[in-house]
Amino acid sequence: MTGDLVHFPLHSETLPRSEARAAAARVLDIARNERADRERELRLEDPEQLLAIAELLRSRLEATPTEVLADSEFFFGFLEKPIRPIGRFDEREYYLGEFGLLAGIACRLLAFREKALLWLDRAESHFVLAHNSSAHVARANYQKLAVRLEQRELAEVAELAERWFRVFVSLELPQDALKCRFLQAHALKETGRHNEAILEFEQIKSAAERLRNDNLAAIAAENLFQIHAMRGDVEAAVAEAEFAGPIFRRLDNRVNLAKLQVGVGYLYHSQNRLKESISAFREAQKQFAEIGMHADVAANHLVLADLLLDANQPAQAEWEIRAALPVIDELTLVPEGIAALSLLRDSVRRRQIDRQALRSLNGYFEELKS
C-alpha cells in the first residue's frame, strides 16, 4: 500500500442512489460524441452514477454487445485521461477495471478474441490497485479462461477452471465459482463426453436455481437442450428449451435466444427434417446478425452449407461458404483451423466442396455456437 493508491478527494455531493439508475439510463441514451462535451451537466464523474452505468451495461451485454463495447470504451477513455479524482479512495481504479472488463466481455461475445484479451489485461492493471483486488483479478481471469475455451484449449480450460473454482469458493463468490463449472462442462461437451456434460450441466442448473440466478440456470438448460438435440432426444430437449426460452425473453438475453435457435436447427437435423433445420439455422443466423455476432453468422453459413449439400443444392452451399470466408479470415484460428480453411478455400475454387474440410472448420466454431 502506498500513498498513490488512496485518494483524498475534495468533498462533493454525489447523486442519491435512488436517482442514479434513471440518470445512468439517460446518459446511455445520449450519443457518445455528445457526452464528453456535456460532462458536467451529465455528472459523468459521479461515482454513484458510474456504478449504475456499469450495472446497466452488464445487464445489456447479452442483448446489445456492440453497444456495450462502445459505451465501455467511452467510459474507460473518459476516466483514464485526463486523470481525475473519482469518488472515494479506490473508486477510479475500480471503475477503470470494471469498464475494461465489460469491454473485454463484449469483445469475447463478438469473437474479437485478441482485443478481448487486451481489454482484460487493461482491466487487470487497474483492478490490482483497487480494494478487494483478488476478487476482481479472479473475475478478469475467468473471462480470459472463457476466451481460451473459444480457442479450443480444452485441456487447459478443464485444469484452470478447477483452480479458479477453488479461488472463487474461498473468496465466498458462489455464482462466479459456478460459472467456472460451466467452463468445465463446456470442455466435456466439446470433447464429446456428453453423458458427463449432461450430468454437470444438470447440477449447474440446480445450483443456479438455488442461488436464484435465472440467467445461469437458463444457460445450463440451453446447453442441455443442445446436447439432447444433437443426440435426437426430442422430449428431453424440448423440456429444456421450454425452461430456458421464457427466461431469456424476460431478460432480453438475445445472445442465448439465438443460440437456442441453433439448437432448434440441430433438433430438426437429428430428425432428418432438413427443410425445417435449414429454416431454423437461417433464423438463428438472422438473430446473430441483428446483434452483431459476425463470427456466429459465419459459423451458421458453414452449417447451412453442409445442410444444403445434403439437400443436393451445391451451388447454394458454395454461396454460403463464400459468404463465410471473409469473416473467417478476420478471426484468429488455431493451426488446424487454418489448414481446414485452406482446404475448403481450394475446394470452393475447384467448385468441388471438400465436405471434411467444411466440417473440420465448422468444428473450430463450435464454441461460438454454444
Binding site: L5, E55, R88, H131
Partner: protein
C-alpha cells in the same frame, strides 16, 4: 433498492453498528485527530455503501465488515504516508504503522469479534 435483499440488510447493520468502531480505530490505532477521523469515517461509510454493490464483493456480514475494516486501516496508514515530515510520537501508532494495514486489519477484526475496545489513544 431492495430492502429485503440480505446483502442490503448486512450493509445497513454494519453502517448502523460499526461507524463508531471505525472512527475509534482511526483515532486510537492511527492517532488521527478526532475531527479528521469523523470526516474520514463519513467518507468510508459512503464508499462502503457502494463497495457492497460491486460485483465480486462477498455478501456475508463478517466478510463485508472485513472489507470496511481493511479499507479503514489502509486509509489510516496512508494518512501518515502523506505526512512525510511528521512522524507519530505515540507508541501505539508507531507499532500500527510498522506492522502495516493488513496485519492491523486482522487485529482490529479480532478485537471487534471479541467485543474489545480499541487501545487508548
Amino acid at each position: 433498492m431492495d430492502s429485503n435483499d440480505p446483502t442490503e440488510k448486512n450493509v445497513r447493520v454494519i453502517l448502523a453498528q460499526d461507524a463508531g468502531f471505525i472512527e475509534a480505530t482511526l483515532v486510537s490505532d492511527y492517532g488521527l485527530p478526532r475531527e479528521e477521523a469523523a470526516r474520514l469515517t463519513k467518507e468510508l461509510c459512503e464508499w462502503f455503501d457502494r463497495l457492497a454493490r460491486r460485483p465480486g464483493t462477498p455478501t456475508s456480514q463478517q466478510s463485508l465488515r472485513y472489507q470496511l475494516i481493511s479499507m479503514t486501516c489502509k486509509v489510516g496508514h496512508v494518512y501518515w504516508t502523506g505526512k512525510l515530515d511528521q512522524q507519530p510520537s505515540n507508541e501505539t501508532v508507531r507499532r500500527t504503522l510498522a506492522l502495516g494495514p493488513e496485519i492491523i486489519a486482522f487485529e482490529v477484526e479480532q478485537r471487534f469479534e471479541n467485543n474489545e475496545r480499541p487501545p487508548r489513544p
